[in-house]
């Protein structure tokens, strides 16, 4: 009796948490379909704000830039990160532990610090603000995630499979192509999606590194919010959240975190 009561209590708690996590997002999305400019109720359905978005060149340019930066970041971070993961998995060498520890500062140090430090450094070397700087920063932030995700997948890889392939006469390249890569492919895909999400949702580093008038979508939203709220921001925010949640749902299918697969 009391056990069942506790379970019920726990599940209710979980439900409340989910409500807390999703309610504001749903309210925000809801308001993007409301005709009133001042978020007035009663609700009156309208696609006005989405239509306005379509005509807003500044937002469209920023959105395009965000997606492009995220794609470039994904490609670079996935290739470099996968290569590094394979090396860290396959070889034993001095300093390996150190290299693994070096992955944590980019994740653990607040982005405010990393972002301002990048700003200073890129100005110091003459690169300044702009899309190239943003990409360099995003790749650096995404790399550790890719390495962690791909390494986690590699850790489940049975190294004797490589030995078996070699004993059957396969050279190193064939072993990699036919045995290792097929096994880690789901990890690589998950890593790539993580990289995309890190870049696409990145605000802080982009904020310090992007040029005014040439900013990414989150930066543009931030500057707009500080001028005042409009349902147009709700509309673009709703699109962003739908896109990034879809990407992460996809990533979850390819990585095994949370599920015992």
């Amino acid at each position: 009796m009391s056990g069942r009561f506790l379970t019920l209590l726990g599940k209710t708690w979980l439900g409340l948490i989910l409500f807390f996590l999703y309610a504001p997002i749903i309210v925000m999305a809801f308001m993007s379909f409301n005709a009133s400019q001042y978020y007035q109720l009663p609700f009156e359905f309208s696609l006005k704000w989405y239509q306005d978005l379509a005509g807003n060149d500044e937002i469209i340019a920023a959105a395009t830039r965000s997606v492009l930066i995220a794609l470039v970041t994904t490609v670079i971070a996935t290739i470099l990160g996968t290569a590094a993961s394979v090396a860290l998995f396959r070889f034993e060498f001095r300093g390996k532990r150190f290299l693994q520890v070096m992955l944590f500062p980019p994740i653990a140090i607040p982005w405010l610090i990393t972002g301002t430090a990048m700003l200073i450094f890129f100005f110091g070397v003459g690169l300044g603000r702009g899309t190239p700087s943003v990409i360099i920063g995003h790749v650096a932030l995404a790399l550790p995630y890719v390495i962690v995700v791909v390494s986690a997948r590699l850790a489940t890889f049975d190294a004797t499979l490589e030995e078996a392939a070699r004993s059957l006469g396969a050279d190193a390249w064939t072993v990699t192509r036919r045995v290792t890569l097929p096994w880690i492919s789901s990890g690589v895909i998950a890593g790539a999606l993580f990289a995309f999400a890190v870049s696409f949702d990145q605000f802080v580093v982009s904020y310090f590194l992007s040029e005014p008038g040439d900013s990414t979508l989150p930066v543009l939203i931030y500057t707009s919010i500080r001028k005042g709220f409009t349902p147009e921001i709700n509309a673009i925010s709703t699109i962003i959240i739908v896109v990034s949640m879809a990407v992460m749902l996809f990533a979850a299918r390819f990585s095994n975190f949370g599920g015992e697969r």
Partner: protein, 287 residues
């Protein structure tokens, strides 16, 4: 022979690792060093600006109490958000890990983690919509309650705390869940067979075993909250001045980069100190 092999292997390791680590060096580690250097300059060394080496930027931190007070305010905020997240998140992770089984657990877990991987700025904005005066929260409460209430949390400290808890709660749930899931159910059954009641099991077995996960979650929340600036700006308005927002100002409004660098570095030192203190426990959490 074996030397040739070793050389080939070394070449392969180098070829695979150097691109990634070179990138991290250029984009993370060199900038951090550059920031340290900058923090000792009197002015930005660009253009015709006159500059000298100085410790004035650090002196500024200690001379006026303004910055120290703000740092303390940020640390208190971090502590508060961390504690609330732990208290709220741990039971939630426990329910997920031990009370729910099978596919629905996987789905619910994903649902809890999902917001974390969506845009934090957008989520903070969504709270602004909910909390503002005449916003959804007020309208909703007035619709349910028989009497008129005036809820305008916007631009208050509670608003900042709510927004930050919302942002970082999934961290605690994730790390606690992983730690709890690693606890063998047989241990709990064994304790029960020896006559332990639920409270004893929680206190003597579950909490000690999941402590590394809890602490990992705590650090993962505390560190970014201390360095937050966007959340206080949007939800806090005028009360939302913290150490992070002051650093932001130095770079985007006041353009006193050397002072900003010094303040950033002080923040980094605090962060590293916290990580160093927590690292033995975090290491255990990894394994």
């Amino acid at each position: 022979m074996s030397n040739v092999l070793a050389n080939q292997e070394r070449l392969k390791i180098f070829g695979l690792l150097s691109p990634a680590y070179l990138w991290l060096t250029v984009a993370i580690f060199l900038p951090l060093s550059a920031m340290l250097y900058f923090s000792f300059l009197s002015d930005v060394p660009f253009g015709d600006a006159e500059w000298t080496y100085t410790a004035n930027n650090y002196r500024a931190f200690f001379q006026t109490s303004t910055y120290a007070t703000l740092l303390w305010k940020s640390l208190k905020l971090g502590l508060m958000v961390t504690c609330i997240s732990l208290l709220v998140g741990f039971p939630c992770a426990y329910v997920l890990a031990k009370a729910i089984k099978g596919r629905s657990r996987e789905a619910l877990f994903l649902l809890v983690i999902l917001p974390f991987w969506s845009n934090s700025l957008v989520r903070i904005f969504s709270w602004a919509i909910v909390l503002r005066g005449n916003g959804v929260l007020e309208l909703g409460l007035n619709a349910i309650l028989p009497f008129e209430v005036d809820v305008n949390l916007m631009f208050t400290t509670p608003a900042i705390v709510i927004g930050l808890v919302h942002s970082y709660l999934p961290y605690v749930i994730l790390t606690s869940y992983l730690a709890l899931q690693a606890i063998d159910d047989n241990l709990i059954d064994a304790a029960r067979s020896m006559g332990a009641n639920k409270l004893t099991i929680l206190w003597r077995i579950i909490l000690p075993l999941s402590l590394p996960g809890l602490l990992a979650g705590a650090v993962l929340i505390f560190v970014p909250v201390v360095g937050s600036f966007m959340e206080p700006r949007i939800l806090g308005g005028r009360v939302g001045t913290y150490f992070g927002t002051v650093i932001e100002d130095q770079f985007v409004a006041v353009f006193n980069w050397p002072l900003g660098a010094a303040l950033s570095f002080i923040l980094l030192a605090v962060v590293l100190l916290i990580l160093a203190v927590a690292s033995p426990v975090l290491k255990r959490a990894q394994t």
